[in-house]
């Protein structure tokens, strides 16, 4: 069964450094998402992406964040200058159609630790 994959599984970085989190969505999916989950808390929406542009973003997704689909398979989340409070699990998800029409399938996540 096809699944969303994410790399790396863990990333440790120094405050102020840039990080890029990578995702390979399910191949025939058209809608892509990033969520994050601070330890012990609920999953929070960051951004959705469709047709090569951001379709929706949350208040968390400020100017320090950006997303890109550099080729036909990868979907990346970049944090330009990491802060301590960016430490969290970051999940990528994808769907073939709009989220009101079908379930989002999540990747295994990247655990980001900012020191």
């Amino acid at each position: 069964e096809p699944e969303v994959t994410q790399t790396p599984s863990h990333q440790v970085t120094q405050m102020g450094q840039e990080v890029i989190l990578r995702c390979v969505p399910i191949s025939n999916h058209l809608y892509f998402y990033w969520y994050r989950q601070i330890l012990g808390q609920k999953v929070e929406f960051l951004v959705s992406f469709y047709n090569n542009e951001i379709s929706e973003k949350s208040e968390i997704f400020d100017d320090q964040f950006s997303v890109e689909r550099p080729d036909g398979s990868n979907f990346t989340l970049k944090i330009r200058s990491t802060k301590l409070e960016d430490s969290a699990m970051y999940f990528c998800a994808s769907t073939r159609r709009q989220p009101s029409q079908e379930t989002q399938y999540f990747g295994p996540g990247t655990r980001l630790l900012v020191l």
Partner: protein, 112 residues
């Protein structure tokens, strides 16, 4: 308001018992609801979904009930097994919005 905290509510059940996990969703305009299971260190895993034009949907060992009047969703797991131990999240989608809104989560602990 937001329901955020470091301490998840926990439901402890004996193996073989039925479990009921509840969720109060936030927006009366939400029309699609999903239950996810999250095991430690893993991503949310789809269990079952339901649309707002239904009030009950059954899967294998799981049933979701939707009460739109009081904005309440529940997940029933029959004959709970140790492998069901995880955190369970409900999520809602408002038609036209490209995102899911997650609830706070409930930890299910199954004891042999």
């Amino acid at each position: 308001g937001e329901s955020v905290g470091l301490h998840l509510p926990t439901l402890s059940v004996q193996e073989g018992d039925n479990s009921i996990i509840n969720c109060a969703y936030s927006n009366s305009a939400s029309d699609y609801f999903i239950w996810y299971k999250q095991e430690s260190g893993k991503g949310p895993q789809f269990i079952i979904d339901i649309r707002s034009n239904m009030d009950k949907r059954q899967g294998q060992r799981v049933t979701v009930l939707l009460n739109k009047t009081v904005k309440h969703l529940s997940l029933q797991i029959a004959a709970t097994q140790p492998g069901d131990s995880a955190v369970y999240f409900c999520a809602e989608n408002i038609r036209g919005y490209n995102k899911l809104i997650f609830g706070a989560g409930t930890r299910l602990a199954v004891h042999p």
